[in-house]
């Protein structure tokens, strides 16, 4: 049983970058001084992942105001709506509002990403369903529209070297997609297969995966992601057997450092039940909800779990880079 480690979604800023961000807002430092600190932090995050032998490097989205803003600000036809609470957190975002024909400016979009020197490179984006719900367009046309946008986004990222795009969805648990909406989601992921050498994942955040398994398992993605803090393993569908999984194992919403043995016990149960062909372990949602030092400690715990898995031996899992 040899899972591997990955980050996903927004990573928290260090206290140094927090101070720099505030100082930029208060005009105490200029853009170039801020950019220098941001770049240093970006490099540090890549180095951290390399040290922990992550098979994919995630950018961390350290300068993103929220999950949607880079997409919104890189598109004509979209503008930002009013500040809205993100799920049940104390973090807020500006949802997309459609005002015209949506077209992505790839050059502008790519400026939001720190690119690692080393590959493979993995990116987390919101799912088309999440975008559609946020934009109050929960209908097949809305999914299609945002699906087209995300296809453009995935395509331009792939041309820059991204080989894995994980689509996160924190709303599917509460806003169950109907049959027609689901049909559009299937169409979206089917179309993504046209992008050569792109691995895809669908990560169900902030929900019990079992409640949405029927909708999600029909999606033609390479990896299925689930939050183990909210998903009882005993109820996991056998349809997940031998699939590739992204498993959220540490609590991104609490500063308490998770116990490696507890995580190992849960992984053993999953691996015995589902015999996944590959598993990536990660935080259960974005680590932006804890301070950066805590976030790094939690990822270190996952790295320790992986070491323990290797010592314990078990099934080898195929290389994720082959499709």
């Amino acid at each position: 049983m040899n899972p591997e480690l990955t980050l996903h979604s927004l990573f928290p800023r260090s206290e140094r970058l927090v101070t720099a961000s505030r100082n930029l807002d208060r005009r105490r430092i200029g853009k170039s001084a801020y950019a220098k600190i941001l770049n240093e932090e970006q490099e540090s995050l890549f180095t951290f992942q390399q040290r922990l032998k992550c098979p994919f490097l995630e950018s961390g989205y350290l300068n993103w105001p929220d999950r949607f803003r880079p997409l919104i600000e890189s598109c004509s036809g979209l503008t930002s709506g009013s500040l809205t609470r993100f799920a049940d957190t104390n973090t807020f975002y500006k949802p997309p509002v459609i005002w015209g024909e949506i077209k992505l400016d790839p050059k502008k979009f790519l400026t939001w990403f720190g690119k690692p020197d080393d590959l493979p490179w993995k990116i987390t984006l919101p799912s088309p369903f999440h975008l559609a719900i946020a934009a109050q367009q929960n209908n097949p046309a809305g999914i299609k529209l945002f699906g087209e946008l995300l296809f453009q986004a995935a395509d331009c990222l792939n041309r820059q070297g991204v080989s894995f795009v994980q689509f996160n969805d924190p709303v599917i648990g509460s806003e169950k997609p109907n049959r027609l909406v689901n049909k559009e989601l299937v169409a979206f992921f089917t179309k993504l297969k046209k992008i050569a050498d792109l691995t895809t994942g669908y990560y169900v955040e902030m929900a019990d995966f079992n409640q949405v398994a029927k909708s999600v398992l029909g999606l033609p993605v390479d990896y299925f992601g689930l939050d183990l803090l909210l998903t009882p393993i005993a109820r996991l569908s056998k349809d997940l057997k031998e699939k590739r999984l992204v498993l959220g194992c540490v609590d991104s919403r609490n500063s308490l450092i998770d116990e490696p043995e507890t995580i190992l016990a849960a992984l053993n149960r999953i691996f015995k039940k589902l015999l996944p062909s590959h598993a990536l372990i990660t935080s259960n949602t974005a680590l932006e909800f804890v301070p950066a030092t805590i976030a790094r400690q939690k990822i270190e715990v996952l790295a320790l779990v992986i070491k323990k898995c290797k010592k314990g031996g078990g099934r080898d899992i195929s290389d994720p880079r082959g499709r």
């Binding site: 927090v18 009013s82 104390n90 973090t91 803090l229 500063s255 998770d258 301070p291 805590i294």
Partner: protein, 382 residues
């Protein structure tokens, strides 16, 4: 007679108070601000200037500067004509940071992002939450000595303090994951944490305020409806906090789906007023039809549920510099009366605190709140 009017809590802190409080050099414009507002509010600002011009401020000087800020804020609210006032929370840092940093059992662990480049310091509970000193008592005593109007004291509620904190005490790191048992244990830990904050922290603070003469306390619970399944826990916390205390209590909740409060709030024992936000969602058109007042549709549910408590009707949007004309305020109130059936059930308030607005804007909005309330009372002959 007219509608009872009040603000919700915070006002912006003037730069002279912020800079003095953080030992930064005061600029000419900061001192000018103190003079301009001192004149406007009829205060003996010369005393404040003398203090601000000191080359070095001692801790006692800083306390006095903060008290001056309280004076200014009290006078601003009184100048607007509000029936019940407070000091705009001038002596506090922030609604979460202040109570947590003045209590035992918590440790700040670092910054997390609220939105854009706004961050806040978040704490973890690391031991049993405990009362150290009543952290709003001195501020209340000062406000009481200065105010010309009745006071309403805002205090952050137990549910919000617990929800906005990490848990490193009630939760165990070795709780199983991927099991229903583990999930239930997490829920139990959360309940224990919230109950302890209510009982050991908020309740003693309120008792101290009441003993010092406070007769109206507003409990701020912005986190309540973020977890709809936990509204019963909030109700338990509120009841634990306020049970058998002889005081008028309001509950302030903003920017939420208020439908999630039902049916659970029928179990609330001692709530005089629900102060809720509506103007943020409303149109700026005059009129008292449902189409003209889209922000107030929740009132139908409030009426249907036969809630006995008063409704603090948010008629001022705190997110914009738009100065609501008195007639717009009037129509928002008249619509409220139309739906609820009686003016007796309505107090007139802002949506939330005005700390993101300048004092100039805050005073204009509050003045028009009062003017609008008087217009509505005139129409109703109330």
């Amino acid at each position: 007679m007219t509608f009872l009017t009040h603000e919700v809590g915070s006002l912006a802190k003037p730069e002279w108070r912020v800079r003095a409080g953080s030992l930064q050099e005061l600029r000419k414009k900061d001192l000018e601000e103190a003079v301009v507002w001192g004149k406007k509010l009829n205060l003996n600002y010369q005393e404040l200037l003398k203090l601000l011009k000191k080359p070095k401020l001692s801790p006692e000087d800083i306390t006095q500067v903060k008290q001056w800020s309280s004076r200014y804020a009290l006078r601003l609210e009184e100048r607007a004509g509000l029936a019940a006032v407070y000091d705009g929370e001038q002596q506090r840092s922030e609604m979460y940071h202040y109570p947590v940093s003045h209590s035992s059992g918590f440790v700040f662990v670092g910054h997390v992002r609220s939105f854009d480049h706004k961050f806040y310091q978040k704490a973890a509970v690391v031991g049993q939450p405990a009362f150290r000193l009543p952290y709003h008592l001195e501020e209340f005593r000062f406000a009481k000595s200065m105010a010309h109007k009745p006071l309403k004291v805002p205090i952050t509620g137990a549910y919000t303090l617990a929800d906005w904190s990490y848990d490193e005490y009630y939760l165990r790191a070795d709780l199983p994951i991927g099991t229903v048992l583990g999930q239930k244990a997490r829920v139990k830990a959360r309940c224990q944490f919230t109950h302890d904050v209510a009982r050991e922290l908020i309740r003693p603070n309120i008792l101290a305020l009441v003993e010092a003469g406070a007769n109206w306390v507003q409990i701020d619970e912005p986190a309540v409806t973020t977890h709809p399944e936990e509204v019963p826990l909030f109700v338990e916390a509120f009841n634990l906090t306020t049970r058998d205390i002889n005081c008028r209590f309001s509950i302030h909740i903003c920017f939420s789906d208020y439908n999630n409060l039902f049916p659970h709030i029928h179990q609330i024992e001692n709530c005089h007023e629900y102060t809720l936000e509506f103007a943020n969602r409303d149109s700026k058109t005059l009129g008292i039809s449902a189409n003209q007042r889209p922000g107030y549709q929740f009132l139908t549910r409030f009426k249907k549920e036969r809630v006995k408590a008063r409704l603090g009707l948010g008629v001022i949007d705190i997110h914009t510099d738009f100065i609501e004309p008195p007639k717009l305020v009037r129509d928002r109130i008249l619509y409220g009366v139309k739906i609820l059936g009686s003016p007796d059930q309505i107090y007139v308030t802002t949506d939330c605190g005005l700390r993101t607005r300048t004092w100039r804007i805050a005073l204009a909005k509050l003045t028009n709140l009062v003017a609008g309330a008087n217009l509505a009372a005139g129409v109703l002959k109330f």
